[in-house]
């Protein structure tokens, strides 16, 4: 009884604040019934953004496919902010992301800063270019040889300026988006964070030559990421997206990934689920190991830029994984940067025809919307979700 009261409190508090409660706290049967009703209603009238997503997440057909334009640092241009301001000033980040959400639309918002947030808090020297995404200063990597992995010190989240900034951004965006959409937090996987402090080439060699040392660093990083994820969950986000870039043909072999990063991301995804949040996984590599990622992380959503290993067509992908996870992507970002609206609509149509049948698909770019590309195609993408279903 007291457990029931606890759950009602956890569900009631965000609802009273006009926010979505952690979806994992709702009973499965309730979500099934709700999505069934929404799917029926969607046949005759327009659903709200949240209804559309609930229906999609339960693998039922909504009124139309939901969309996530993934305009992240590109949003800075809507308010005339620079890259460094977007990356370093939470109020600017929030203003930019909300401008993108309000103007461009879409049902899913993934506020993030860049892929160096965690590494910079570990002490990696950064470069903040005026016209490009922030990145580590690879001339001065924090870890300079294989002995450095075991010397990596755990940091306190309280002193982690950039991680703290992202948590702050999530807190504000979640409140401002409210019931108009679903907000997902973001966390780079431990291998990705380590890559930012060592450089990919050295890290790849050392995963094979010094696995024990590398894993010691991954353990240290995972401890900090767990705290980071907990702080993100407390902001009221409905999901957390994990980026396991190296679980692909661009990274480690499948057995090596399962050995090196698999156990750590299993821990992080369990933590996300224990908070009632949805686990999302982002892939921008070629030939991602969907099977391993699903086994280790049990995600509900898989975002992808390229076809995963073992799938040669979108049809094969849908058949193999469509009932296990919600698929999100895989609009070509080069096309978004260079093509005209007609080509964008055609590409959206191709994806919707191949993946939207029976629900379980979110239209999105395969990776972040190109930050310096004209934003017109982001608007077209959001409209295509409405036009092409």
């Amino acid at each position: 009884m007291s457990q029931d009261k606890g759950i009602f409190r956890k569900l009631g508090k965000p609802l009273l604040q006009g926010m979505i409660p952690p979806p994992g706290l709702f009973p499965e049967k309730f979500l099934d019934a709700l999505s069934g009703l929404c799917s029926l209603r969607g046949k005759v009238s327009r659903l709200t953004n949240v209804e559309r997503l609930i229906t999609t997440l339960r693998h039922r057909e909504p009124d139309r496919v939901p969309c996530c334009p993934l305009v992240i640092s590109g949003s800075r241009r809507l308010i005339g902010a620079s890259f460094p301001d977007f990356a370093l000033k939470p109020e600017t980040t929030t203003r930019a992301l909300m401008a993108a959400f309000d103007l461009i639309g879409g049902e899913v918002v993934i506020p993030m800063l860049d892929l160096s947030v965690e590494a910079s808090d570990f002490g990696q020297t950064m470069i903040y270019p005026e016209n490009s995404t922030p990145h580590p200063d690879y001339d001065h990597p924090l870890i300079t040889d294989h002995t450095g992995y075991q010397k990596l010190k755990r940091i306190n989240l309280r002193d982690a300026r950039r991680m703290h900034s992202l948590v702050e951004v999530l807190r504000i965006v979640t409140r401002q988006v409210g019931m108009k959409g679903v907000v997902s937090g973001f966390c780079f996987g431990p291998l990705g964070v380590l890559c930012m402090m060592r450089g990919a080439e050295h890290l790849f060699r050392e995963c094979i030559l010094y696995p024990t040392e590398v894993m010691a660093a991954l353990e240290t990083i995972t401890g900090v990421l767990a705290e980071f994820i907990e702080a993100q969950c407390e902001t009221g986000v409905a999901a957390i997206t994990l980026d396991t870039l190296f679980a692909s043909h661009n990274g480690l072999s499948k057995p090596l990934w399962e050995q090196m990063e698999g156990p750590f991301v299993r821990e992080l995804s369990s933590l996300i689920r224990s908070k009632g949040c949805i686990v999302g996984v982002h892939n921008c590599g070629h030939g991602s190991y969907f099977d391993s990622q699903i086994r280790f992380m049990e995600p509900q959503i898989m975002s992808f830029a390229e076809l995963p290993e073992g799938c040669n067509t979108l049809g094969e992908l849908k058949k193999r994984y469509g009932d296990q996870v919600v698929l999100m992507g895989n609009m070509n970002t080069s096309l978004l940067a260079h093509a005209g609206p007609c080509e964008v609509i055609q590409d959206a149509k191709r994806l919707i025809e191949a993946l939207a049948d029976g629900g379980g698909f979110v239209l999105a770019p395969g990776c972040e919307y190109p930050p310096n590309a004209p934003l017109e195609n982001a608007f077209v993408l959001a409209q295509a979700a409405k036009l092409c279903t």
Partner: protein
């Protein structure tokens, strides 16, 4: 008959050492091999072993980290061979390549792998590093009289610099095959930028470079 058996066995052992990136065993095998064969023949066996690994990498039977270690191993062994071989600078097959990551871009993993591959396949590589300005590429092409310019960019924010570099190279009238690659690119963009070849990944760099060279220098 005995010679053939020695050759086959040596090939197998060299292949195995390359596959396991066992530099020490490979060095000993090459020394053994050099008693019977010329440095050119031994280099040939080594390159066959690398080609096998490259094909395995192309079919994803070998991972990127394994392939990086293979390139390291083969390049170290080829250094050993080259010190024994005649200089090849007057040979028709000799091609000099200027390679670099465009300005503003710090990501050099792809460039380093491809530079390593080029070296292993007998090209002479002038590696300008990362975050390289247009002027540095132009100057290197003139200084080294290179036949190929290989450009890399990993960010959508930095890739437009490729277009400027290619335009500049064409304006100066230098006869050079330009090959470009990197995550945000595709074949269509490469064509629009005026490149002669597009290497989708390290898997395709050698073939693409060879065919770009044959198009520009028929």
């Amino acid at each position: 008959m005995e010679k053939l058996a020695f050759h086959t066995q040596m090939q197998r052992r060299i292949r195995s050492a390359v596959c396991c990136h066992d530099a020490e065993t490979l060095r000993a095998l090459l020394d053994e091999c050099l008693v019977e064969k010329s440095p050119g023949e031994v280099s040939g066996i080594l390159l066959d072993a690398l080609e096998e690994q490259r094909l395995n990498f192309m079919s994803s039977a070998r991972s990127l980290p394994e392939f990086i270690l293979t390139i390291d191993t083969v390049n170290a062994a080829l250094e050993q061979m080259r010190s024994l071989e005649e200089p090849r600078k007057n040979s028709d097959a000799f091609v000099r390549i200027v390679i670099g990551v465009v300005r503003g871009d710090p990501h050099d993993l792809g460039k380093n792998i491809i530079a390593g591959l080029y070296r292993a396949y007998g090209f002479e590589v002038i590696d300008l590093g990362r975050d390289v300005h247009q002027e540095a590429f132009s100057a290197a092409l003139t200084t080294y009289d290179a036949k190929v310019l290989a450009l890399s960019a990993m960010m959508s924010t930095t890739m437009p610099a490729m277009k400027e570099i290619i335009r500049e190279v064409r304006i100066t009238g230098s006869k050079v095959a330009v090959v470009i690659g990197g995550a945000p690119l595709d074949a269509e963009i490469a064509r629009a930028y005026g490149a002669d070849g597009y290497a989708q990944s390290a898997r395709h760099a050698i073939e693409e470079t060879r065919s770009a060279i044959s198009r520009v220098f028929p």
